[in-house]
Amino acid sequence: MEFKDNIPIYLQIEQYLYRQIALGKMKAGEKIPSVRKLALELTVNVNTVQRALQQMNDQGILYTKRGEGNFVTEDTELLAKTKQTLIDNELDEFVQNMEKLGVKKENLITILEKYLKKCEG
């Protein structure tokens, strides 16, 4: 896992974990790896992982069982909302990039439809 060095790492760890959850690599109700294991896997400071997990606890995506570790919420509504946020973020970036290329918002749909048709062949 490569992090961008100009964005706080804990925010990027959050994004990474959101993605793991959205992709089903970490499932509802399942225990996530320990703080130290995540730190090692991502080559980051234990404090930084803790900060990310704390935020996700506050948001309700994770919950802590005392002495057992962190678990993914079983609240399917919240999980769906989280996935939608990830999709929105991707779309945001897409729209911004297209604007930089000179594509106006009102033309996006047409361009996208054309492209998808081309992909289908």
Binding site: D5, N6, I7, P8, R36, T43, N45
Partner: protein, 235 residues
């Protein structure tokens, strides 16, 4: 947060040359901190003074309420390049020496570190590559139970695999309350680990900032560090 280490108005001269002038630094517990600066900026001297190895400085160095050099030495772990040992010394003899000198040296802990670093107890210091030597220094340093660990340029001239091992050992062995100060003149290899950055330049400590505060401004740690040297490139 409680201060672990306070350096106040530190000035150090050697052979009529100023090496450090009015340096001030506060470190709290539980952090990984980079000490960044060019070669000759005074990083090693600062570490040696904090460690109680370099003496006859002006100013105050306070580690958890104690300013006495001997007491500081007992509370912090610093391995000064293995300079006191002859080349024919075996690793196990260095370990014996450490276990005798330092009460908090844990031989079992060292053995785990040694295995992790893939070092052989019977190897002589002369047989060690630069990377192996650095790994041995780290293993010796972390085998002590201290509140402050000082790592002096642990990544100088070593290959990527040795670097990875050392970085992983920091993540695995660092106690929650311990603080690690790592000096380096190249920040990229450790930037993802850092809580804080300290800049040494012009024989003093210029800045001390949290890594996240730097990134919050959309600046990389490297850009931040290089900004202190920008004026020199223009000349």
């Amino acid at each position: 947060m409680n201060d672990l280490l306070t350096v106040k108005d530190l000035t150090y001269r050697k052979n009529q040359k100023t090496i450090l002038k009015d340096a001030n630094l506060n470190l709290s517990s539980g952090k990984i901190v980079a000490l960044l600066g060019e070669n000759g900026a005074g990083k090693t001297t600062l570490m040696r003074i904090i460690a109680g190895v370099a003496k006859n400085y002006k100013g105050e160095v306070n580690l958890e309420g104690t300013t006495k050099e001997a007491a500081r030495k007992a509370k912090l772990s610093f391995t000064d390049g293995l300079t006191g040992f002859s080349d024919s010394t075996k690793i196990k003899d260095v370990v014996k020496f450490y276990a005798t000198i330092f009460q908090d040296f844990d031989e079992n802990e060292f053995d785990e570190l040694r295995k992790f670093m893939k070092l052989d107890n019977d190897m002589k210091l002369s047989q060690l590559s630069r990377g192996m030597r650095e790994k041995l220094i780290i293993a010796l340093t972390f085998a002590r139970k201290a509140d402050l660990y000082l790592l002096d340029e642990p990544f100088g001239g070593i290959d990527a695999m040795a670097r990875k091992k050392i970085i992983n050992s920091i993540i695995l062995w660092k106690d929650e309350k311990a603080t690690i100060l790592i000096s380096d003149h190249f920040v990229n290899e450790i930037s993802s680990l850092l809580d804080e950055v300290v800049i040494v330049k012009d024989h003093t400590i210029l800045e001390h900032k949290s890594a996240d505060d730097i990134r919050q401004n959309h600046e990389t740690i490297e850009e931040y560090y290089e900004s202190f040297y920008a004026d020199e490139d223009d000349e």
